[in-house]
């Protein structure tokens, strides 16, 4: 089982942020399609199991 916290694309939310919670972070991926590239970020928890979809996106 891989958790979000173990992934290189997991970024812990700073303690002074409005949405800080212990263990919470941003999971950031880059997506490329025929139009161009873009970045997606969603809130996750470090101990949460990473989904297959997110694992694929982060490759």
């Amino acid at each position: 089982m891989t958790t979000y916290g173990e992934h290189k694309n997991f970024f812990a939310i700073p303690e002074d942020a409005d949405d800080f919670e212990p263990g919470k972070g941003d999971f950031v991926v880059q997506v490329r399609d025929e139009k161009g590239t873009y970045w997606l970020s969603k809130p996750v928890f470090a101990d949460q199991e990473i989904t297959a979809e997110d694992l694929q996106l982060s490759k």
Binding site: I13, D18, D26, V28, D33, G36, Y38, L40, S41
Partner: protein, 862 residues
């Protein structure tokens, strides 16, 4: 080679019409508009090339990969289930906060203004809390949110809570079935989810949301202090309970909005520090991060702040909290203080005018990428576009002086450069307006964008004052505030500013269709040609109307039935919006809601009632033909006419020719115009004005046809104006029927100017001669035409300046004509994205040539 206008004799001299740009002599007519786009920078060129357009044609998305996202509906539902038992306004706040706290945020390469309203830039959100029918429509298409089973569960969950279920209960099912035909009346808003709003952007930019939170907190403290006063008085004290709920909801959502914006800031910083390899972009991302950390929490200090804060407010009000069409704001006035800071004083975010033009081009491309989760019917009625986006410019300031400024010019320059269908512009035309800006307005029109559409500044101001008199709150627009108006959607003026703006479409919006009403009036309220059902009250058969007045009265009854029903639907929706569809974010940024502790849906300080009669001219021309040929000249009987109509004129060709050749609107014909003037003023406006809406004011007609003139035409049988069943109807609120205005452009103006009473706005489409407009005299001719239009006190006009040759070439080879834009009705569209049926209606419009008598009438300086 491009066609030039023929020389004419005018005021004793021969006037030639050489092209303004000589290089165009080498460009064939068939491809002119492919040479006009000129993005001002390499960045905007790249952004346009990779733009994720979401145009629809015949209800289908034109580009592959566009689909509905599930994230918004999932998060809203999660919050709704978890908040049972809490005050309804707090449930709405928790719903929005849950979306903002947990949604995916998006950052695209190359962009400076950031933020999107779905989990992927190829997606758009859906709104099950509004109308389950609109969501059900998506679930059976390739655009369904995934996983579709979950989407279906969510939709089913919302059925009992939706606006649709809450409102339907109070209507006769027979009436609703009649509305669902969308032939005499548009379907009710509670069944379509279609909406519009004028967000009070000004408070976000001027105050920042932290200030709004402070205000709400102070109000709560004040309320609690009042409640603690002794002796206790329940008649006053209990009123604070709802207010406290509203203020608490405002605080909750504003905090969520700030956190959401700062998540975007954090994403930029993460990308800059961990992934970006281009040092220039890295630096820019850190600058964007800084902006998004500060706004919309804090007041904007420079133009970059203002564009970003405005964009977030737009996304929240039009797509995330609730779907709403339009992009109503006075962009030049709103951004002018920040333009001054950044460009003139260079005190914050210093930049040049050219940099501002690039910012506007980037904003326009953001709008072009916007995905609207509208039902199929609403995608069909805006063919060739993704949604209605109308920004207002120009006009006058509260002190009556010219409102045009360098920001106005930057918007117009960028619009002409980047050449997109969205957002459309509306220019408030005042004779005080500076010539420099008017030349830029003309530049966009001459290049065939179809916009800015032009509205009469003084008429708009007067209308705001008039409506203000009916305010049930005693807070209608003051004389100064009346100058602060924008188009709510394509046509209707409404207040912009810190308070008193229109918050929901239940105030104004929705359509009613006189052409079909005329058809059923002739058939005792029955629709024989499309739905095969009774569509209105029984008012007798045409053969029984032995006088024209009886026909007139029967139409009036049918029209009043439809008008009262549609407005009753809107007001019922408004009632439930105030109870279950509150908008605490909008409330928090409206000074009135903040002061009074009331919800934006519930509070109405400035009435703005309107509804759209669309296809009025088919009905009006039909009345003229009937009066002339049956009642006055007695050339035919009503029985003969009804037989001909039932046969779709087949076997009645000579008779059809007579009805087709009867006098038509737009030719300065006294006979036709007298009947049609009365039709507009006594019935279309007069009957509607008898209605009093939610806000306590009258409802007036705003004829803005959008693409409905095609849909309704296809559902309307043959009509006595000589039209065959199924042919498109007239394309504007007061535009002549396509191809029937044959007496020149000034004859159209003289006809239209006869209608002055009981109208709020009426769309006038005109197609002007491309060779004249692109000649060296183009601006002078247009300017003189506009001043004449202004003097005739006409509310609106908009133009197509595109050749038939180019449109026909685009029909043959659409891939070569991606930049050919045309004005359809209240919106512009990429010509090749419009279904052929609609394309042909544009080609069929008469291209108005100016003759010497027209030049004399407008006193052109040639």
């Amino acid at each position: 080679m491009v066609t030039t206008a023929e020389a004419i004799d005018y005021k004793g001299k021969k006037v030639e019409f050489p092209l303004e740009y000589a290089a165009e002599n080498e460009i064939p007519d068939e491809e002119l508009h492919e040479h006009l786009a000129k993005p001002s920078t390499e960045r905007t060129k790249r952004l346009k090339a990779r733009c994720r357009w979401k145009h629809a044609s015949a209800g289908e998305f034109v580009e592959k990969g566009v689909c509905a996202g599930i994230e918004r509906m999932r998060l809203l539902t999660e919050a709704h289930k978890a908040s049972e038992g809490k005050p309804e306004v707090m449930r709405r706040a928790l719903g929005l906060a849950n979306i903002l706290n947990k949604c995916t945020v998006v950052l695209q390469d190359d962009e400076f203004i950031i933020g999107y309203h779905a989990e992927d830039p190829n997606m758009f959100p859906l709104y099950p809390e509004l109308a389950y029918m609109a969501v059900a429509d998506y679930l059976i298409t390739d655009y369904a949110p995934q996983p579709v089973e979950e989407a279906r569960e969510i939709m089913d969950y919302w059925v009992p809570y939706s606006m649709q279920s809450k409102c339907e209960h109070y209507f006769d099912p027979e009436d609703l079935q009649r509305m669902y035909q969308v032939s005499t009346m548009e379907a009710p808003g509670f069944a379509t989810g279609y909406n519009s709003i004028v967000p009070p952007y000004e408070t976000v930019l001027e105050d920042g949301l932290l200030k709004r939170i402070e205000l709400a907190e102070a109000n709560i403290q004040m309320a609690k202090d009042k409640m603690a006063e002794m002796p206790w008085d329940a008649t006053k004290g209990l009123a604070w309970l709802d207010k406290i709920d509203n203020w608490e909801a405002m605080i909750l959502v504003d905090k969520a909005v700030i956190a959401w914006a700062r998540r975007h800031a954090r994403l930029c910083k993460i990308v800059a520090e961990n992934f970006e390899t281009d040092p220039k972009r890295k630096e820019e991302l850190l600058e964007i991060a800084d902006i998004n950390q500060r706004v919309p929490a804090e007041p904007c200090k420079g133009l970059k702040d203002a564009f970003q804060a405005k964009w977030y407010t737009y996304l929240l009000c039009h797509a995330i909290d609730r779907y709403a069409s339009g992009m109503a704001h006075k962009e030049d006035t709103l951004l002018w203080p920040y333009y001054q800071n950044s460009v003139i004083d260079k005190s914050f975010q210093p930049m040049t005018h050219a940099d501002v033009v690039e910012m506007v081009e980037m904003e326009r491309l953001k709008v072009s990428e916007h995905g609207a989760g509208k039902s199929r019917a609403y995608r069909e009625i805006f063919p060739g576009s993704n949604d209605l986006f109308i920004i207002s410019l120009g006009g006058t300031l509260p002190d009556g002086s010219d409102a045009c400024n360098d920001m106005t010019d930057a918007i117009l320059e960028a619009t002409r450069n980047i050449r997109t269908t969205e957002p459309s512009l509306m220019f408030r035309y005042s004779k005080k307006g500076r010539s420099k800006t008017k030349e830029l307005v003309f530049g966009c029109i001459r290049d065939g964008l179809g916009y800015p559409s032009i509205k009469h500044d003084e008429i708009g101001v007067q209308q705001m004052k008039e409506y203000g008199k009916f305010s049930t709150e005693g807070k209608g627009a003051t004389d100064e505030e009346a100058h602060n108006w924008v188009n709510v959607l394509c046509m209707s003026p409404g207040i912009h500013g810190r308070r008193k703006t229109q918050k929901t479409r239940s105030e104004g919006g929705g359509s009613i269709f006189p052409a079909k009403i005329m058809e059923v009036t002739l058939n005792d309220g029955y629709d024989w040609s499309y739905a095969d059902m009774q569509l209105g009250p029984k008012t007798g058969n045409a053969e029984d109307f032995n006088t024209f007045e009886k026909l007139w009265e029967a139409f009036k009854v049918q029209y009043q039935y439809a008008a009262s029903l549609v407005i009753r639907c809107k007001d019922t929706l408004r009632y439930f919006e105030g109870k279950f569809l509150q908008m605490p974010f909008v409330s928090s940024i409206d000074d009135g809601c903040m002061e009074l502790g009331r919800d934006a849906c519930e509070l109405s300080e400035q009435p703005n009632g309107w509804h759209n009669p669309i296809t009025t001219i088919v009905a009006a021309n039909s009345l003229v033909a009937i009066k002339k040929l049956i009642y006055d000249e007695k050339k035919y009987t009503m029985k003969q006419l009804m037989d001909a109509l039932k046969a779709n004129w087949d076997g009645f060709e000579e008779m059809r020719k007579d009805f087709k050749n009867a006098p038509k609107w737009g030719n300065d014909d006294e006979y036709a115009d007298a009947i049609i003037k009365d039709f507009y003023e006594d019935i279309i406006g007069g009957e509607m004005r008898k209605i009093t809406n939610y806000s306590g004011g009258p409802v007036l007609p705003v004829g803005q046809a959008v693409g409905l003139y095609m849909e309704i035409g296809s559902r309307t049988g043959p009509t006595p104006d000589g039209r065959y069943g199924g042919e498109a109807a007239d394309d504007g609120g007061i535009s002549p029927y396509m191809g029937t205005d044959t007496k020149g452009p000034t004859a159209v103006l003289r006809s239209v100017s006869r209608v002055q009473k009981n109208q709020k706005a009426n769309l006038l489409n005109q197609r002007l001669s491309l060779p004249i407009m692109r000649s060296q005299h183009g601006f002078n001719v247009w300017h003189a035409y506009m001043d004449t239009w202004h003097d005739l006190n006409i509310d609106h006009v908009q133009f197509n300046v595109v050749s038939t040759a180019e449109m026909k070439a685009a029909q043959k080879e659409p891939e070569k004509h991606q930049d050919l834009i045309v004005r359809v009705a209240g919106f512009s569209a990429r010509f090749v994205d419009i279904p052929t049926y609609g394309q042909n209606t544009i080609i069929a419009r008469n291209e108005q040539e100016f003759g010497a008598e027209d030049y004399e009438f407008i006193d052109a300086d040639l």
